[in-house]
């Protein structure tokens, strides 16, 4: 925080600190460049950093209103404890950090002795800075096999499926559009080309800026000539500008993908040279998609046959082109097959690792790699106790695969006692939640998760605000600092395709709060000093991690707005993707595995196939008579990040209520007017949101928003800030997942709607 360093300067009593944003408050690692103006130790202004090579000063409303988060009267400012008997009640006691740490340490040691460390599990959430550090709490602090990347989340239905399929098929980190993101000189970089077409599939990146992708770079590319193909049930704003909009029935992505592949293959539009040299299993893929004629695709997915053919031809015959795949591909039972199709399209068109195509890097780097190394710090005996489905499903979730976590559906079944009669069963006793508010967001059937978590002896949660999950379940609450109040590093794509490293520089103090990393090191020193004692400071930690991987350290990163990674094209020709230095991809065959040996070994299809969603008018025609509409969920609005920002005045004013989006024709059929409360009911449950009438959805489905709760309402149980009332996850079936355990239908199901009088109906 010193004045006049490489990243801070003082002018007329105002300290201006350059930093890269991440979280808290919620955001993905895009690392947008900020200049924070600090006067008398207080944040007085947020300004975009015009010198940041990615954002060039541009900011979304959430960072612009950062002051409203930092100084919000409801922010957690002290560690809190509560008697276990008072869960659900607002009966908190403020304690010091040392008291909170003492309590946690004593309880963990007691649980280690009485039940074994395996009875402790951790839960984490999505996208936040904590995703780097949360997976380490379980193995390297609590010494348990049931930590790593574990979510209260059916089918781990975000990012994990895509990251895993990319790893299996390409042997690479998460693929990304080549938007010149690796270069200081960006779009002027010699050798870079602008993609001619962009497939934007199950994603609305303008408003989500996912994983490290600065969403509005799509607009930069459109200004430079890129044309758009969207694959989305919704008419998104981008779809309204698209040359082709493939408006599919929610959950039928694999059928559309196979239809696109069939056009490209049967019309001989693919890159023969790339396929012959670098792809394994093309013939099997061609055979698998043969039956998916445009007419059949239209029948199954409702995508107009001519639009499908036009999109496939335009995409395959205009090199270079590129694409981006969204969480919608993860959020169906057929996530694996949809992902296979996306990667196969990019591969056979010859767009992998070429200028203006799909950028790929090694699977993990830097801190991404560190967190995996830290997962290997438990004993083999402990690792053997890792919770897996005892009936033999989801073998991919054994230790060492699938980000090392416990499969979410298996975890709920385990907590509910479904596996009590198996020899491997033991009771879980403690949970530590880091960067997650599962009762509001993520947890399928959230009230079941609530009931299943209640019997736990001890629950710790860390966050910046009181949440429904904390009020319902926590015994100890640790208050987090915002990204403006702590030091850190931003690693786009969580190290799985990192185009720069950005320094997150502390701009002012909030002495009673700590970062996820500070808490990790503090508790690590207490519980597993052999792993943590050598870390004297956060700075030393980051410097060491950087120097292990690069020829520069923390000061070098802090010296610039963003330390750009640079990029080498056609790495597969140069031996730059494999650890052995041989040409090819880092897969078993050394090629892109269109026919996946690894997937087959997990009992999954080696090539894509189509499976009808479990709840649809085709798979359950009688039920669909009662539930005549489809629903999809989770479209983003830019003023909020998942369950966050509901209490931030400027952000809530932009989007005051949860909206169910209904086509005007459908609304008229049900006597629903703009602003009416509408109850949406699926075979699994119901919830209520406010009607918004628009042609963004057609007459076959509605869209409901996710992760709503109401900080202004009564927080105590049973109301819990109204977390059950508008909760989209009430609609979601438990364990309707893919063969691997990945993929769950958060974005596709059947429903009925009716007008009601209030949110409470």
């Amino acid at each position: 925080m010193a004045a006049d360093t490489a990243f801070a300067s003082e002018e007329n009593g105002v300290l201006k600190v350059r930093t890269c944003a991440w979280s808290p408050p919620g955001d993905h690692p895009v690392g947008c460049g900020l200049i924070l103006h600090v006067q008398d130790g207080k944040l007085v202004k947020v300004e975009g950093d015009p010198d940041h090579p990615i954002t060039h000063g541009r900011l979304c409303p959430r960072c612009i209103a950062l002051d409203e988060v930092v100084y919000h009267e409801d922010r957690l400012q002290h560690p809190l404890v509560r008697d276990r008997a008072d869960r659900g009640k607002n009966k908190w006691r403020e304690v010091t950090w040392d008291e909170a740490y003492d309590l946690i340490e004593a309880k963990v040691r007691e649980i280690w002795d009485k039940y074994g460390a395996e009875s402790i599990f951790t839960l984490t959430g999505t996208g936040r800075e904590s995703t780097l550090y949360a997976p380490v709490y379980g193995p390297a602090v609590l010494n348990t096999c049931n930590g790593a990347s574990t979510y209260a989340f059916s089918g781990q239905a975000c990012y994990g499926p895509r990251a895993t399929i990319a790893n299996y098929l390409l042997g690479a980190g998460v693929p990304e559009i080549d938007w010149a993101q690796y270069y200081e000189d960006r779009y002027d970089h010699p050798g870079w080309e602008c993609p001619k077409y962009l497939i934007i599939w199950g994603k609305d990146p303008l408003y989500s800026s996912p994983d490290g992708f600065f969403g509005h770079s799509i607009i930069d590319l459109m200004k430079r000539g890129s044309k758009i193909i969207t694959i989305d049930p919704r008419l998104t704003w981008l779809s309204s500008r698209a040359e082709f909009h493939l408006q599919l029935r929610p959950g039928t992505d694999a059928a559309v993908g196979m239809g696109l592949l069939r056009v490209i293959i049967t019309e001989d539009l693919y890159d023969h040279d790339f396929v012959e040299k670098w792809c394994f299993g093309f013939d099997e893929l061609a055979e698998a998609v043969k039956e998916w004629t445009p007419e059949k695709v239209q029948e199954v997915s409702w995508v107009d046959a001519q639009t499908l053919v036009g999109a496939a031809r335009a995409f395959a015959t205009n090199a270079p082109s590129s694409g981006i795949w969204g969480v919608a591909l993860d959020q169906s039972k057929a996530s694996t097959q949809a992902g296979q199709c996306f990667l196969a399209i990019m591969a056979i068109c010859g767009y992998l690792d070429v200028p203006g195509g799909i950028a790929i890097t090694k699977p993990t780097s830097f801190i991404g790699k560190w967190r995996y190394e830290m997962s290997d710090t438990i004993s083999p005996e402990m690792a053997a106790k890792h919770i897996v489905d005892p009936t033999g499903k989801y073998a991919l979730f054994n230790v060492g695969a699938a980000m090392g976590g416990v499969q979410g559906d298996t975890l709920l079944n385990w907590l509910e006692g479904m596996y009590k009669d198996y020899d491997c069963y033991y009771d879980l006793k403690m949970c530590w939640m880091i960067g997650t508010n599962p009762l509001a967001c993520m947890a399928d059937q959230p009230q079941r998760w609530y009931e299943a978590m209640k019997p736990l002896e001890f629950i710790v949660v860390q966050d910046i605000f009181m949440t429904p999950t904390i009020m319902a379940l926590a015994d100890v609450v640790l208050p987090l600092s915002t990204f403006a109040e702590h030091d850190g590093l931003v690693t786009p794509n969580f190290g799985r395709n990192q185009h720069f490293i950005g320094a997150m520089n502390k701009a002012f103090d909030n002495p009673n709060t700590k970062s996820d990393l500070e808490i990790l090191i503090d508790m690590g020193k207490r519980l597993r000093p052999e792993l943590w004692d050598r870390f004297e400071s956060v700075d030393q930690f980051f410097d060491e991690q950087l120097r292990k991987n690069y020829d520069f350290g923390l000061d070098d990163v802090r010296a610039v707005p963003a330390k750009m990674a640079g990029y080498e094209y056609r790495k597969y020709e140069k031996g730059l993707l494999r650890p052995d230095g041989e040409p090819g991809f880092d897969t078993m065959t050394g090629m892109v595995e269109l026919n996946s040996i690894v997937l087959a070994s997990y009992g999954e299809g080696a090539v894509p196939y189509y499976e009808e969603p479990e709840f649809s008018h085709i798979s359950k025609p009688e039920l669909a008579e009662e539930y005549p509409l489809y629903y999809t969920t989770g479209g983003r609005n830019i003023s909020m990040f998942h369950s966050e920002h509901r209490q931030v005045p400027s952000m809530r004013a932009m989007h005051p209520w949860p909206l169910v989006t209904i086509n005007p024709v459908v609304a008229e059929r049900y006597g629903i007017a703009e602003g009416d409360w509408v109850r949406v009911t699926s075979p699994q449950g119901h919830m209520t949101q406010k009607a918004h009438l628009t042609e963004e959805v057609n007459d076959k489905f509605v869209h409901v928003e996710h992760a709503w709760w109401f900080p202004e309402q009564d927080g105590e149980a049973p109301n819990l800030y109204g977390v059950w009332k508008a909760n989209a996850n009430n609609l979601i079936p438990h364990e309707s997942v893919g063969v691997t355990g990945y993929g769950a239908p958060y974005k596709n199901g059947i429903c009925k709607i009716e007008r009601v009088d209030s949110l409470d109906d």
């Binding site: 202004k45 947020v46 300004e47 975009g48 015009p50 060039h56 000063g57 541009r58 900011l59 979304c60 409303p61 612009i64 209103a65 002051d67 303008l206 408003y207 969403g215 509005h216 607009i219 930069d220 459109m222 200004k223 008419l235 704003w237 779809s239 309204s240 830019i638 003023s639 005045p649 400027s650 004013a653 932009m654 628009t694 042609e695 963004e696």
Partner: protein, 110 residues
């Protein structure tokens, strides 16, 4: 010299960063605005989708004259995610509008 605001609104995505930035920079209450984003559509016109966002400055907009005197961009222009706002001298507005050339460009002199 008089300045005006050119908005390439055909590519405005409705993020409303301009609204929030302006309120912060001019210390306006939540009920007031220096610029407001209006939504038009989506509706079909001539078989194609029409869906626009148009930011409209209010009388409270001074085009961030203080910032411009320091050689800085107005806050809405700096933060605009789609990079579609430009504050320019009057005599350059028409030239810049014709350079953009694709239609859906508006000009405000608040």
């Amino acid at each position: 010299m008089q300045y005006g605001m050119l908005i390439d609104y055909g590519l405005c995505t409705g993020c409303r960063s301009c609204e929030v930035s302006c309120r912060k920079e001019h210390d306006l209450p939540l009920e007031e605005w220096g610029i407001l984003v209006e939504q038009i559509g989506p509706k079909r016109l001539g078989g194609e989708w029409e869906w626009d966002y148009v930011p409209v400055p209010s009388r409270l907009c001074d085009l961030c004259s203080e910032r411009r005197q320091e050689g800085k961009k107005p806050m809405c222009e700096l933060h605009c995610l789609a990079n579609v706002i430009e504050v320019l001298p009057m005599d350059e507005l028409a030239k810049r509008a014709s350079e953009l050339g694709h239609g859906k460009v508006s000009c405000f002199i608040p």
